[in-house]
């Protein structure tokens, strides 16, 4: 009997192609699409992530065409508790979260693994662009995708040996063009549609408004916008409206453009500075996960750090400190603005060593 694989299908072309490839390779494919985002409020505009017969259309089509079972499963409660609540709490705490990392860690590679075991599936597969390799010693390595423009390994740093052993990323070695060609060959209507860059549960991209609707008013941290010397420049309606490095929408006029340098959750102060005052020398990260903890030593190692998705990697030194914490020192002392709450992922060449969440800049 062939190995069974639970394929997480989003309704987009990537995961549909991933499922088709696995089916062709002879796996016993079971397609699942997850309902994640809550229902939109009545009257809100239609969007891709709410419940309708059109949802998961590509997933259904490829399941019919490739003759494998497909189910829609309801993960709204878990997604709400572990991803959306975290997203809101992070913004209220003056950090800028990355819910996709959280969703992978808490839902796709946690709850979905449990579901896989319940369904006697040996593997969980997704349409992520990343590669997994197993070495001669039986250790698993997480690598960047072959197509650097599509690489999504950043979102997957929380996967450890246990997860990688049971994960499959069939698109990791393919380019986006190859995937689109396969999608067209499979007759997928949306083969050429541009991908959404938005967070699935905030389809209009207005995170501030989302946080304001989700959180009680008394938890919104209002305060002042100040300069580096502490002079008040303006007041603001909540720290959740700001992210470090932000320039637009500050409501402050100054001779030179000002950027958010720091957000102080306690006092509600948003510190702004000219561009020159923004760069960090490094960062402290917490909640560190290593792909292969057994391979990590105590001595500092040279890495390339990615401090947000799509940001070029920066040469740095990684020192693991007390359990779960790390210090990243940029080789180039004047680095970019560092945004607390974002994931910092450590690469050695093409390989993901691990990562964590940025606590503060150094």
């Amino acid at each position: 009997m062939s190995a069974r694989v639970l394929v997480a299908m989003s309704g987009g072309v990537d995961s549909a192609v991933a499922a088709a490839i696995l089916r062709e390779r002879g796996y016993d494919v079971v397609g699942v699409a997850m309902r994640l985002a809550p229902e939109p409020a009545a009257g809100a505009r239609r969007r891709a992530s709410c419940c309708s017969a059109d949802d998961f259309e590509d997933a259904r089509r490829v399941a019919e065409r490739m003759d494998f079972p497909f189910y829609v499963i309801d993960m709204r409660a878990e997604f709400g508790a572990r991803v959306i609540d975290n997203f809101v709490a992070e913004y209220l705490a003056a950090r800028t979260p990355n819910p996709c990392v959280m969703c992978n860690r808490e839902i796709k590679f946690a709850r979905l693994f449990e579901r896989a075991a319940a369904l006697e599936a040996d593997y969980v597969a997704t349409g992520h662009y990343a590669r997994i390799e197993r070495d001669a010693l039986g250790r698993y390595h997480l690598l960047r995708a072959a197509d650097p423009a599509k690489d999504q390994s950043y979102f997957l740093f929380t996967l450890g040996q246990q997860e990688l052993k049971r994960a499959l990323f069939p698109l990791g070695a393919m380019t986006k063009g190859e995937v689109r060609a396969r999608a067209r060959a499979l007759g997928l209507a949306n083969a050429d549609k541009p991908e959404s860059q938005e967070i699935c549960f905030v389809p209009d991209g207005d995170y501030a408004r989302f946080v304001e609707r989700a959180a009680p008013a008394e938890r919104l941290r209002r305060g002042r916008i100040v300069d580096s010397a502490g002079h008040t420049l303006a007041t603001h309606a909540g720290v959740h409206r700001f992210t470090v490095g932000q320039r637009r929408g500050l409501g402050v006029s100054a001779p030179a453009p000002l950027y958010v340098r720091e957000i102080r959750a306690q006092s509600g102060e948003v510190v702004v500075a000219p561009r020159a005052g923004l760069g960090a020398a490094g960062l402290l990260a917490c909640d560190i996960r290593l792909v292969d903890p057994a391979a990590a030593g105590a001595a500092p190692i040279a890495i390339d750090a990615r401090i947000r998705y799509r940001h070029p990697t920066l040469p740095a030194t990684l020192a693991l400190e007390e359990p779960g914490r790390a210090r990243v020192t940029f080789v180039n002392r004047e680095g970019p603005a560092v945004t607390p709450g974002q994931a910092c992922v450590f690469y050695r060449g093409d390989e993901v060593v691990g990562g964590g969440f940025i606590e503060r800049a150094l």
Binding site: Y71, V72, A77, V88, E90, R115, A118
Partner: protein
């Protein structure tokens, strides 16, 4: 070999129905309203089917209106009664089919007052509660005779008099009752009754509404004079003949078949109880259609069980599916007072004419095995499995890292 245990959603075609459909296809029947020979032949076939349906429920053939199915029959009964009878109040219950609840919600938006009688914890609707809700003039009482989710059979006859006293028409949705228990419209004293073809082994797309002689309701589809003016459009002759054949097959052995299916259900329940500690049967122990088992499986998500069982070839159901295809907990169980968690752990197993003893033995073995595996792999007593209420303080605290 798959084991189909979802008869309340729809029964497989009976061989008698296949044969009747094939015969009609060969007969070149035309439009039953046409004057010519072929039309007359069609008309005979249609009226024979009408007589078969009428006989099953003890009605006169002229009281049977063919429709496209249970949903249309319910909509015709409700909209037709409300249009013909101006009294504001309409009485129903919270455990009815969506094709009753949705048209009533629409009427409520138009200014009608819809009173929802609460069921007890076993899904029974007390006739006294219906009578209490009828303390003002009403246009309609609409109740399911047998509940689709838990199989509770209501004491409908006792609701007829309070309905009449309030001036209301009395509508019974008998889609899940016909073919499983003896259903006689004169005994039940209803004015309107819904029948569905595919619950009986006819194809989907055919149903009927019994409209008692002398009862006036407004038509929903306007056009030609077909079906006593209550349902315009050339009748679905193929469907009607199929329904007639299904009804004929059901009537021939109603008691024996009901006893046979009841014994199989009891056997399945006993096997599952022995294998699954804490298994709970939802719905009443007596006054039920014997083919329906609604079961709460401790410590698992029904959704996982449903999928795992499907992958093992056992086909059951859970609640209803949303437009995107995800299953939602049954609104009937929630209305009966089950917690959301228990409702999310419940599955409906429904047997029917083609269920065999060997199917039940195998299904019991597979269900027990799947339950053990799902419970071990994905225990559902976690906070997150509680459903709606999970966005609370605990998860926020955890999320705050």
């Amino acid at each position: 070999m798959r084991i189909y245990l979802d008869y309340n959603a729809g029964a497989p075609l009976r061989p008698e129905v296949r044969a009747a459909i094939a015969r009609l296809c060969d007969a070149d029947a035309a439009n039953p309203a046409a004057v010519h020979h072929s039309g007359q032949r069609a008309r005979r076939a249609l009226e024979q089917a009408r007589a078969q349906v009428a006989q099953l429920i003890g009605a006169d053939p002229r009281e049977i209106v063919f429709t496209s199915g249970g949903t249309e029959s319910n909509n015709l009964a409700i909209a037709g009664a409300a249009q013909a009878h101006p009294a504001r109040r309409i009485v129903t219950s919270g455990i009815e089919h969506s094709s009753i609840l949705a048209p009533l919600e629409a009427l409520a938006r138009l200014g009608r007052e819809v009173v929802y009688v609460a069921p007890d914890r076993e899904g029974r609707i007390a006739p006294e509660a219906v009578a209490d809700a009828l303390d003002a003039p009403a246009s309609l009482v609409s109740i399911g005779l047998a509940n689709a989710e838990v199989g509770a059979v209501q004491e409908a006859a006792a609701m007829a008099e309070p309905a009449a006293r309030a001036g209301a028409l009395f509508h019974l949705d008998a889609a899940q009752a016909v073919g499983r228990i003896a259903v006689r419209v004169r005994d039940l004293r209803c004015d309107l009754m819904t029948l569905s073809g595919h619950k009986l082994g006819a194809p989907a797309g055919i149903g009927a509404l019994y409209v008692r002689d002398g009862v006036a309701i407004a038509p929903a589809l306007l056009g030609g004079p077909q079906e006593s003016g209550l349902r315009a459009g050339t009748p679905n002759l193929l469907g009607a003949v199929a329904l007639g054949a299904a009804v004929e097959a059901v009537s021939a052995a109603l008691e024996e078949e009901s006893a046979r299916v009841g014994a199989l259900s009891e056997r399945l329940l006993a096997l599952l109880r022995a294998a699954i500690p804490g298994l709970r049967l939802n719905g009443p122990r007596s006054n039920r259609v014997s083919n329906t088992l609604n079961l709460t499986f401790p410590g698992v998500l029904g959704e996982s069980m449903l999928i795992a069982l499907d992958l093992e070839g056992v086909e059951v159901s859970m609640g209803s599916a949303c437009a995107a295809g995800a299953v939602e907990p049954s609104h009937v169980l929630l209305a009966m007072g089950l917690g959301r968690e228990a409702a999310r752990s419940s599955l409906r197993v429904s047997l029917g004419w083609n269920t065999r003893a060997a199917d039940i033995e195998r299904a019991a073995e597979i269900i027990a095995r799947v339950w053990r595996r799902v419970r071990a792999a994905e225990p559902a007593d976690s906070d997150a499995a509680n459903g709606g209420g999970s966005r609370g303080a605990d998860s926020s605290a955890e999320a705050a890292r």
